[in-house]
Symmetry: C2
Subunit: 666 residues, 2 copies
C-alpha cells in the first residue's frame, strides 16, 4: 500500500479530529444572555430546518441517480456516488452547526473580551467548516482509491459531491437572497427600520440565509472543486506517471491539509483581523509549496510538475487581486459607479454591468496563460498526457490549502451573524463596532474567496474535461466537426439559461417574502410598537419552500443535458458542450459576481458620506444597483461554478454509456 | 465566362439602377413647407456631416490596413480590401442620403395623401438602402471573382466591408444612444417637454442618430454579412463542387436580388402597413426558393444542397419569431417585466436581464439544429466539404433576400424621423397618427430585423470559420490542445470586453450630452419660451466627436487580437479564439438585443395605461429599464454581430501569415 494514500487517510482523519476539537471548544464557550440564546436559537433552528428539509428532498434524487448509475455503469461507481453525496451532506451539516454555534459566541466574546477573542471564535467556526470539507474530501477519495483502485470508479465520489453541491448552492443562494431582498425592501425601505431590527419578520430568515447560502453553499462548492481536482489529478496522474502520479496528487493535498491546520494557529493574537487572516493564508501556502517542491522530486523523479502547482496558486492569487480591484471602493471602478449613481439608477446599472463585463478580461487571460504554462512546463511538448497532468496539478495546487481558504471565507458570515445578534439583542454599541470591523474584513475575504472559487472551478472543470476525453477514448475533439460546433453552441447557452432560471427564482421568492412581511406589518400592528412578536417562522418557511422548489429544475438540467447530448449527438458533441459551458460559465460567473460586488461596495461608499451620502438621490440609485447585484453575486454567479463542474463530471461518470451509444442521431 | 457570374454582374447593376430610379422618384416628391425643409435640412446636414467626418477618420485606417495587407499578403487582396471598404462606404452614403430625403417627404405624403402614400415613400427610402447594399455587394464580389479568380483574394473584399461595418455600427450606435439618452433624460424627464419637441437642443442629434445608427449602421452590418456569406459560399463551393459550387452561390444571390426588386412592388396599395411589408417579404422569399430549387439541379446536378438553403431561411424566420415572443408586449415575458416594475426599478432590471438570458435558449438550439441539418443534408456524411458548403449555403440562403430585409428594416427609422419632423413642425394631429402607426410597425420590423441580423451573423461567421480552417490548411482544430483552449477562453472573453467598452462609451457620451443640454436650458432661457433657437449644432457635434473617438479602440482590437493570437499561439489557438468569440458573441448579442427590446416594450405597455400608466411609479421603474436597454439593444448587442464576422475574416485574409509564423511562442 502506497505511503501517500495511507498518509492521506491519516491526514483526513486528523482534520476531522481537529474539526471536532474546535467545535467542542466553541460549544464550551458562553453563548451570552437569555435573549442572545433565544435569537441564536431561532437562527440555528431555521438553518437546521432548511438543511434537513433540503436533504430529505434530495434523498429521492440520490436514490434515483444511484440506481441509474448502478444499472448503466456499475455498482461500485454507484457506491462511490452515494458516499460522495453523504460526505458532502455531512460537511455541510457539521460546518453549519459549528457556524450557528459560533455566531452568538462571537458576539458574546466581543462583549466580554474584545476583538482578539471575537476574531478567534468566529475564525474557529470557519475552521470547523474548512477542516470538515478537506478532511471528508481527502478521506473519501483515498479510501475509495484503496478499495477500488480504478480512477473511473472514484469519479462516482465526485459526482456525489457535485450533485449535492449544485442543489446546496442554488437552494442556499435562492434562500439567502429572497430573505435579504424581502427584509431590505419592506423593512429598511418601506418601514424605515434599521438592518437586523428584531421587529422585521424576515430578519431571522435573513440571518439563516447567511448560513445556508454563504457557509453551507460555499462549503459544498469548494468540497466539489476539491474532490474534482484530486480525482482528475489521480486519473491523469496514473496515465502520465503510473501510480506515482496519483500518489503525488494525493500527497500535495495531504500536505495542504496539514499546512492548513498549522495555518489556523497563525490566525491569532494580532489586533488587525485582516493581517491575522492573511498571516494564516500565507503560512499554509508557503508550507505547502516548500514540501510539494521536495515531494515532486521524491515521488515523480522530476521537478517539472511542481511549476504547475506554483502556476495554480499564482492564478488563484491574481484572480483574487483582480476581483478586489474591480469590487473594492479603494479603486476607480467602484468609485465610478458611485459617481454614475448621481445621474440615476439607469447610469448606475449600466456602469455596474460594464464594470462586471470589463472585469472578465484579466482573469481570463491569466487562466489562459496558466493553462499554457502548466501544460508546457510539465513536459507537454514531449508528452501530451504529462502536460494534461500539469493542468490537473494546477487545480490541485490551487485547492491544496482549501481548508484555510474555506475557514477564512466562512468566517465572514459568522461575523455578519454576530453583528445581527448584537443588534437584535441590543448589546452595547462597542460590541457592534467590533463585529462591524470583523464583518467588513469578511466582505473583502468573501470577494477574494469568490475569485478563488471561480478560478478553481475553471481549472478543475478543465482537468475533468481532459479526464473525460481520456475516459471516452477520444484522441481529440475536432472543432470543425459540425456536431462539436452544435455542442459548443448549446453548452455555451446553458449558463445563460441557468442564470435566467436562478435569477427569476430569486425574483419570485423575494416577491412572496415582500408580500408576507407587508402582511405581518399590516395585520399585526403591535410588531412596530414592540408589543407583539413577528412571526419569524412563516418567513423562514417561505424562503425554505421557495428554495427547495426552485432548485429542482436547474439541478436536473445539469445532469440530464450532458447525458442526452452524449447519447444523441455523440462524444465529440458532448466535448463541445462541455467546452462551451466551461467558457461561458466562467465568464458569466466572473461578470455576475464582480458586477454584484461592485454595486454593493458603490452603495457602501456612498453610505460613507460620498456623493450626498445616505438618503440622497445617488444613494437611492445605488440601492437599486445593489438589489440587482444580490442575485448576481450570491445566487446565479456562484451557481455557475458548480454547473460547469457537475456537467463535466456527469460526462466522465457516464463515459461508458457514450462509448456504447455514440451519437444515435447522426 | 460563367453565366452565373455574368448574370450576377448584370443583376448587381440592375439593383443599382433600380436604387437610383427610386431615389430620383423620392427627390421629385414635395418636401413640404419651409419649416419642414428647414428641420429636415438640419437632420440631413447632421447625418452627412457625421458620415463625412467618420469616413475621413477611416481614411488613415484604410490606408494603413491596405499597406499591411499588400506587404504581408499580396497587392491583389489589398486592392479587393480597398474596394470592399469603398463599396461599404458608398452603400452607407447613398442609403442614408435617400433616407434623409424620404423622411420629410413621408411626413408630407401623410399630410397630403394619407397612409398609403406615406408608407410607399418611407418604404421606397428603405428600398434604396436595400438595393444599394445588395447591388454593390454582388457586383463587387462577382467582378473580383472574374478578375482574380482566387477565393483567398476575394476575401479581401469581405475584409473591407467588415472593417467599415464595425466602425459604422459602433460609431453609429454610440452616436444614436448618446443623443437619445441625453435628449430623454434632460428634455423629457427634467424639463418635462414631449419627445421630438423642437425646444430640446438634442432633438436634431436624436433624429440624426436614427439615421446614422439604424440606417447606415444596420446597412453596413448586413452588407458585411451578405458579402461574407457569398465569399465563404464561393470558397467552400469551389472545394466541394469546383467552379459550379461558386456559381450556385452567386446564382442564388442574384436570384434573391431580382426577387427582392419584384418584392418591392408587392408592398403597396394595402391599408395595413404590416401586411403590406409582410407581403413583400414573403413574395421575394418564395420566388427565391422556387428558382433556387431548380437551379440546384441544373448547376450542381443534385437537389441535396437546396435543403441547406431552406434551412437557412427557416432558421432566420424562427429566430425572428422567437425575438418577437420575447420582446413584444403581446406575450407574457414583456408583460411580466411590466408587472415587476410595480415593485421598483431593481425588480424591473432583474426581470429584463432574466428575460434576455432566457431568450438565448431557443435561437441557439435552432442554430445548432440548423448547422447539423445543413451539413448532413448536403452530403456531409460522405464528403466533409460538401457538408461545410451546406453550412455556407444556409447563410447565403438566409441572406439572399437581404435587399428586401434591409428595405423593410430601414423603413422603420424613416417613419420614426417622419414622426419627429411632424412633431417639430407642428403638423396636424392626424399626420402624427399616421406616422405613429407606421413607426409602431417599424418597431416590430426592427426587432425581427435584429433577430435576422444575429442569425445571419452566426451562420456567416461559422462559414467563414470553416473557410479559415481550409485557408490555413488545418485538418481539424483539436479542443483538447491547450493552445486551442487558451484561444477559446480569450475569444469567449472578447465580446464581454467589447460590450463593456461600447457601453461605457455610450455612458460617457450621454453624460457630455446631458451636461450640454442642461447648460443650454440654463444659459439660454429663451429656448423654453420659444423666443430663442437652441444650438442644435453643438449637440450634433458632441455626439459626432464622442462616436468617432470611442469607436477607434474596439475597432483596432477586433483586427489586432486575431493577428496577434495567430502569430503568437498558432493557427489552432486562433481557431479556438474564433469559435469562442462566435459562441459568446452570438449569445451576448441575443441576450442584449432582446433584453433591450423587452424593456422598451414593457415601458410602452405601461404607457398604454397598464400598471398605473404614464407617470406612475411602475412607469418610472420601466423608464430606468428602457434607458439601460438603449445601449444594450442599439449599440453593444448589434456591434457584436460585426465583431465575430470581422475577426473571422481577418483570420481568413491573413491565413498565409499564420501558416508562416504558426505560433512563435509554443
Amino acid at each position: 500500500m502506497d505511503l501517500a494514500v495511507v498518509g492521506s487517510i491519516v491526514v483526513g482523519a486528523l482534520a476531522l479530529i481537529f474539526a471536532f476539537y474546535k467545535s467542542a471548544w466553541i460549544s464550551r464557550l458562553n453563548p451570552g444572555n437569555d435573549r442572545m440564546k433565544e435569537i441564536s436559537g431561532y437562527i440555528q433552528e431555521g438553518a437546521m430546518a432548511f438543511l434537513s428539509r433540503e436533504y430529505k428532498a434530495l434523498v429521492v434524487f440520490i436514490i434515483v441517480l444511484f440506481v441509474v448509475v448502478a444499472l448503466l455503469i456499475n455498482i461500485f461507481t454507484a457506491i462511490c456516488f452515494l458516499f460522495g453525496a453523504i460526505f458532502s451532506i455531512l460537511a455541510g451539516y457539521f460546518g453549519m452547526k459549528a457556524a450557528t454555534k459560533a455566531n452568538v459566541r462571537t458576539a458574546n466574546a466581543a462583549m466580554e473580551s474584545g476583538m482578539t477573542k471575537a476574531l478567534n471564535v468566529a475564525f474557529s467556526g470557519g475552521a470547523v467548516m474548512g477542516m470538515c470539507v478537506v478532511g471528508l474530501g481527502i478521506l473519501g477519495i483515498s479510501v475509495a482509491y484503496i478499495v477500488f483502485g480504478e480512477p473511473n470508479i472514484i469519479t462516482g465520489f465526485g459526482l456525489g459531491a457535485s450533485s449535492i453541491a449544485l442543489f446546496a448552492r442554488v437552494g442556499g443562494g435562492i434562500y439567502t437572497k429572497a430573505a435579504d431582498v424581502g427584509a431590505d425592501l419592506v423593512g429598511k425601505v418601506e418601514a424605515g427600520i434599521p438592518e437586523d431590527d428584531p421587529r422585521n419578520p424576515a430578519v431571522i430568515a435573513d440571518n439563516v440565509g447567511d448560513n445556508v447560502g454563504d457557509v453551507a453553499g460555499m462549503g459544498a462548492d469548494l468540497f466539489e472543486s476539491y474532490v474534482g481536482a484530486i480525482v482528475s489529478g489521480i486519473t491523469l496522474g496514473i496515465i502520465a506517471f503510473g501510480k506515482a502520479g496519483a500518489s503525488y496528487a494525493l500527497a500535495i493535498s495531504a500536505v495542504g491539509v496539514l499546512a492548513s491546520i498549522i495555518g489556523v494557529y497563525f490566525v491569532r493574537g494580532d489586533k488587525d483581523p485582516q493581517k491575522a487572516l492573511n498571516g494564516g493564508t500565507v503560512a499554509s501556502s508557503v508550507i505547502t509549496l516548500i514540501v510539494s517542491f521536495f515531494l515532486c522530486k521524491v515521488i515523480l523523479g522530476t521537478y517539472q510538475p511542481f511549476i504547475a502547482i506554483l502556476v495554480g496558486i499564482a492564478v488563484g492569487l491574481i484572480i483574487a487581486k483582480v476581483t478586489e480591484i474591480f469590487t473594492s471602493s479603494d479603486y476607480k471602478y467602484v468609485k465610478g459607479i458611485a459617481q454614475e449613481s448621481e445621474t440615476g439608477a439607469s447610469t448606475n446599472i449600466i456602469g455596474g454591468l460594464s464594470v462586471g463585463m470589463m472585469s472578465t478580461g484579466i482573469p481570463i487571460v491569466v487562466i489562459a496563460i496558466g493553462i499554457l504554462v502548466a501544460y508546457y512546463a510539465s513536459g507537454g511538448t514531449a508528452d501530451t498526457v504529462k502536460g494534461l497532468y500539469g493542468i490537473a496539478l494546477a487545480a490541485v495546487g490551487m485547492l491544496s490549502t482549501a481548508g484555510m481558504t474555506i475557514a477564512v471565507d466562512a468566517y465572514g458570515p459568522i461575523a455578519d451573524n454576530a453583528g445581527g445578534i448584537a443588534e437584535m439583542c441590543n448589546l452595547p454599541k462597542d460590541v457592534r463596532n467590533i463585529t462591524d470591523k470583523l464583518d467588513s474584513v469578511g466582505n473583502t475575504t468573501a470577494a477574494v474567496g469568490k475569485g478563488f472559487a471561480i478560478g478553481s472551478a475553471a481549472l478543475t472543470a478543465l482537468s475533468l474535461f481532459v479526464a473525460y476525453t481520456q475516459a471516452v477514448g477520444l484522441d481529440g475533439i475536432d472543432l470543425t466537426n459540425p456536431t462539436t460546433i452544435a455542442g459548443l453552441f448549446i453548452g455555451g447557452m446553458l449558463p445563460f439559461l441557468f442564470s435566467a432560471m436562478t435569477m427569476s427564482a430569486v425574483g419570485k421568492a423575494a416577491f412572496s417574502m415582500i408580500e408576507e412581511v407587508r402582511r405581518q406589518f399590516k395585520n399585526m400592528p403591535g410588531i412596530m410598537e414592540g408589543t407583539e412578536k413577528p412571526d419569524y417562522k412563516r418567513c423562514v418557511d417561505i424562503s425554505t419552500t421557495a428554495a427547495l422548489k426552485e432548485m429542482i429544475l436547474p439541478g436536473l438540467l445539469a445532469v440530464a443535458v450532458p447525458v442526452a447530448i452524449g447519447v444523441l449527438l455523440g462524444t465529440e458533441a458532448l466535448g463541445g458542450l462541455l467546452a462551451g459551458s466551461l467558457v461561458t460559465g466562467v465568464l458569466m460567473a466572473i461578470f455576475m459576481s464582480n458586477a454584484g460586488g461592485a454595486w454593493d461596495n458603490a452603495k457602501k461608499y456612498i453610505e460613507e458620506g460620498n456623493h450626498g451620502g445616505k438618503g440622497s438621490e445617488a444613494h437611492k440609485a445605488a440601492v437599486t444597483g445593489d438589489t440587482v447585484g444580490d442575485p448576481f453575486k450570491d445566487t446565479s454567479g456562484p451557481s455557475l461554478n458548480i454547473l460547469i463542474k457537475l456537467m463535466t463530471i456527469v460526462a466522465v461518470v457516464f463515459a461508458q454509456l457514450f462509448v456504447t451509444y455514440n451519437g444515435i442521431l447522426f
